[in-house]
């Protein structure tokens, strides 16, 4: 796995260096795809995650179960991030309470996806192991923001390939929560608690890290200048 991580020197100029050393184990297609999505986000920016995921699915001809297993892998990562890493880092204050709530919601997403995959007659993918490079509250919060935004972009890239109306509705009800997490993430909560510049938070609030009025760069019309 460590052959996938890149050196400090190689991190210079990355769009999202926080993602550079996130590791996802496993040789399932879902794990491969998640590594690709994270790499696209790290190197080219979160706007690249949506086209990467939609293309990767188009190539593998992924059916609904495969898409759900990809989503499950992503939710496993997010769930571990809040529920395992969050505890390990020892979050404080608002960040702690948000991380708890978000962690419970990610765990609910995991359960719902497993149930849906089984209902479709599929086999839920095994949980990979993750390396999540966060050692302090601030690095945790920085990573939280990019991970949630990666999640939104990944779902938005995968959803148009979903065949079943019911599965699409389920994925939609999850991605909306990811977008809410991404927007008012634990990072923002902590920033506000610390009296950080809300102007900056507000500016991020306009667009999220994808930076536009729509979350899919491929569909994005030119931004109106402000």
């Amino acid at each position: 796995m460590s052959n996938h991580t890149i050196t400090n020197a190689e991190q210079v100029g990355l769009a999202n260096p926080e993602l550079a050393n996130v590791e996802v184990s496993g040789i399932t297609r879902s794990s491969f795809m998640l590594r690709g999505a994270i790499a696209a986000g790290a190197v080219y920016g979160l706007g690249a995650v949506t086209p990467f995921v939609s293309q990767a699915l188009a190539e593998t001809g992924g059916g609904d179960v495969e898409i759900l297993n990809f989503a499950l892998t992503l939710e496993y990562l997010e769930s571990d991030f809040y529920n395992v890493k969050g505890k390990e880092v020892g979050l404080k204050g608002t960040a702690k309470s948000y991380a708890k709530m978000f962690g419970e919601q990610e765990a609910d997403h995991v359960e719902a996806l497993i149930t849906t995959i089984k209902a479709l007659g599929g086999k839920p993918v095994a949980k990979p192991t993750f390396v999540l490079p966060a050692t302090s509250q601030s690095s945790f919060l920085a990573l939280a923001s990019v991970l949630e935004n990666t999640g939104v972009s990944a779902y938005n890239g995968a959803a148009p390939s979903i065949k079943s109306k019911e599965v699409l509705a389920a994925a939609g009800s999850i991605v909306q929560i990811e977008a809410r997490h991404a927007q008012r993430g634990v990072r923002r909560a902590a920033d506000q608690g610390a009296g950080a510049d809300c102007g900056e938070a507000a500016d991020q609030g306009l667009a999220g890290r994808n930076g536009g009025a729509v979350d899919d760069p491929c569909a994005a019309p030119p931004r109106s200048s402000r």
Partner: protein
């Protein structure tokens, strides 16, 4: 606190394409991190990213075939897009009136202004999508909104954005065209972001429905917005 800088410099779509084409260092880093999947998907990924600017041409060319085979699904998608457009017109007008009211200044003021300009972008995107499908964009309705105090307006904005997010979610399964779906989903998550931001502002839940967002169907949403139609 170094990440805001990287946020500001996050590449825009055009930038991604350029970097994909030119930057060998980035390509190597991407392939190293992504491993096998990245290598396998990279060619198609480049094509997808590069193709995004010419999507319009490609899909226009493909449109006639699609329309003849599924005229009814196109009609359905156009109706959904026009429904979304109507909601976005109202949101745009709402924010414009809020901005004009001068109730908000400073950081929250610029936040509200920004939301308004994103709703305006959504209006344009949806009009474009309707026209591309061969439909006629819905007319801009006249709205009327109670605007009395900053607290009341922020509360209303929170309600409106949550309604918008649930309206998009309610239509996701009804949309036939993957391209229209991608557009709707891209707007959907931004409505959710607005709702979450406003939730913090008015000290209400970021996730009022819990771990799973609830959809709203068209009749429910239209009933909810009726009081705002002049």
């Amino acid at each position: 606190m170094s990440s805001p800088t990287s946020e500001d410099s996050a590449p825009q779509p055009a930038g991604i394409v350029e970097r994909l084409m030119r930057d060998d260092v980035d390509r190597k880093r991407f392939l190293k991190m992504a491993g096998g999947a990245g290598a396998a998907s990279f060619g198609a990924f480049v094509l997808a990213a590069c193709g995004s600017s010419s999507t319009k041409t490609a899909s226009t060319a493909a449109a006639p075939a699609a329309t003849t085979s599924s005229a009814s699904s196109a009609t359905g998608d156009i109706a959904i897009l026009n429904y979304a457009l109507t909601l976005e017109y109202l949101e745009r007008e709402f924010y414009a009136k809020v901005v004009a009211s001068g109730l908000f200044s400073g950081k929250v003021g610029s936040l509200i202004k920004g939301f308004g300009s994103q709703e305006a972008t959504h209006v344009e995107a949806l009009k474009g999508a309707v026209s591309k499908m061969g439909g006629t964009p819905a007319a801009n309705p006249n709205g009327k909104f109670p605007i009395t105090s900053a607290t009341q307006v922020a509360g209303l904005a929170y309600t409106v954005e949550n309604l918008g997010a649930s309206a998009y979610l309610g239509q996701a399964g009804n949309i036939q065209s993957p391209e229209v779906l991608a557009t709707a989903l891209a707007i959907h998550s931004v409505e959710a972001r607005h709702a979450a931001t406003l939730g913090t502002l008015v000290k209400k839940s970021l996730t009022p429905d819990g771990a799973f967002a609830k959809p709203a169907d068209m009749s429910m949403v239209l009933a909810a917005v009726k009081p705002f139609l002049a």
